[in-house]
Amino acid sequence: MAEIFVLAEHRQGQLRDITFEMLTKAREIAEKTNAGLTTVLLGKNVRELAKTLAEYSPKVLLVEDGKLENFNSEAYQKVLSHLITQRKPVLTIIGHTSYGVELAPRLAAALNVPLATDCIDFGFEGEAFTVTRQMYGGKVNAKAVLRKSESYMVTVRQAAFQAQKPSVPINGQIEEIPSPLTEEITSKRFLEYVLPPPGGVDITAADVLVGIGRGIKDQSNIPMVEELAKSLGGVLACSRPIVDKGWLPSDRQVGTSGKTVKPKLYLALGISGAFQHVLGMKNSDLIIAVNKDPKAPIFSFSDYGVVEDLFKIVPVLKNKINELKAQKSS
């Protein structure tokens, strides 16, 4: 029977959300195509994680080895090459995460298995394996087909699929495979984790966030939006380019490589709405976006949209709020 592989992703003893998102999609494809679903778990002392995975997957392949204690793409590549060559899965599913991005392209090239990255949808359509992915910062979707092959590989965008428990309880079988790693990996070695510097402002605790993006144009414009944030009783947050430029400290960054926030109000000013940003704020109670581009992806995640130059809106809005507050207090 054809088999689908899902690579379980975990860090510091925890399975990561993407694992369950991938498993949900993989179960759907397995059912449709009558394929077996196998979760591959690599690590050291991860038997407990294997037990959890067995509730989501009829089969769990477990490879334990001290050399797999921390993620190392070279060690992973060796083990997965071994497993994929031996078992020939029709499809291998890996997360489009910092781990997956490090691992999948090189693994696919080594095995000569066609790969599509950062997929938001994928599946077998007749003879073809097709994927949907985004281009141009999320402004366009592309439906693409992978070169015909006996085996395919995809990396999956975070939150593209909603993780669900299986409708019928699964009591999967855990199969332990002896580690094929014979020697230490010396060309690339994990040294340590580096934690973000302890932040001054905790944007995850704020009720009101004014998020600024590249549309703010210049550092000198930041005091203006900072005042608006104050008037609203909130704090400033931002997209990645603002941190990259050093205009705001990294603890203000919202998104996959920053913080996930859920304020009562997120006011997005000059932010295009790339998925890495959106993932960090889309569950806010109320989202209002100001962007001069009517096609900016941020508008498809917002409750209210304003297609206008933010520099025309911000000063007027701040005045009106201040007036209202003055009225109330008098």
Binding site: T97, E102, M135, F190, Y193, L265
Partner: protein, 262 residues
């Protein structure tokens, strides 16, 4: 240290209106402004900084049409010593995998200690070229790098994980690193620098020069072929607030009042 930087000439699309072209498989390029891929800008800067510190050379290399010369000139102006453009009609339709193959065949006989690429290209967002190129060259790699240091013939790099977390890795040289934004602050180019760069040569090579067959590049040599582009369906359609800035601001205030936010 001899460093090769892979750069891509891409359209700036954040503020532009995109139109899907007549084939349905691409976007209309006319009217769009092209520039160096944002991530490659940081990669080039990092290469120049390493050269300034340790000596050596920086070579910028691209797979693209003649239009890419402006991106290569920018690299030369910012401190690259050499520029190579890989151009051939047969390269059209190459995906990230085929592009990595083309780059590999051009690079394999060159001397280098480090290769830098961007973490991803802003247009296709594949994040594939760097690691695949490293696999072809059989050298170690690390992706989404935010810091590079050197000790005893090895590189110590910080890679970005999720949520602000990073990991430190030790990587043997020669190696390939894909560079994440924010690793440095790319310098501005002086007018002098641009003038000087105009005089430097850009070496151009085609399919035959790098010894690849027709079927190894373009669509035939790719993993992925685009069938159709379309505008993404909206997840949640925003209600648009219209009017003068004053009217819009009033509407926002009303919404905030109704939600008890002010």
């Amino acid at each position: 240290m001899d460093i090769i930087v892979c750069v891509k000439h891409v359209p700036e699309t954040a503020e532009a209106e995109l139109k899907i072209d007549a084939t349905g498989k691409g976007i209309e390029k006319s009217g769009l402004v092209f520039d160096i891929n944002e991530w490659d800008d940081y990669a080039l800067e990092e290469a120049v900084r390493i050269k300034e510190k340790f000596g050596g050379t920086v070579t910028a290399i691209t797979v693209g049409s003649e239009d890419s010369d402006s991106t290569l000139r920018k690299c030369l102006a910012r401190g690259a010593d050499k520029a190579i453009r890989l151009t051939d009609p047969k390269f059209a339709g190459s995906d990230a995998y085929a592009t990595a193959k083309i780059l590999y065949n051009a690079i394999k006989n060159m001397r280098f200690d480090i290769i830098l690429t961007g973490a991803q290209a802003g247009d296709d967002g594949s994040a594939v070229v760097g690691p695949v190129l490293a696999e072809f060259l059989k050298i170690p790699h690390a992706t989404m790098v935010k810091k590079i240091e050197f000790a005893d013939g090895k590189a110590i790099v910080n890679r970005e994980l999720e949520g602000g977390l990073e990991e430190r890795l030790e990587v043997k040289l020669p190696a390939l690193f894909t560079i994440q934004t924010g690793i440095n602050e790319p310098r501005y180019v002086s007018i002098m620098g641009i003038r000087k760069a105009m005089q430097k040569e850009i070496k151009v090579m085609g399919l035959a020069d790098i010894g690849l067959g027709e079927n190894e590049v373009g669509e035939a040599g790719s993993w992925l072929t685009i069938e159709r582009l379309y505008v993404p369906p909206v997840e949640k359609q925003a209600e648009f607030l219209t009017g003068s800035p004053d009217e819009i601001a009033s509407k926002i205030v009303e919404i905030l009042k109704s939600k008890g936010l002010i």
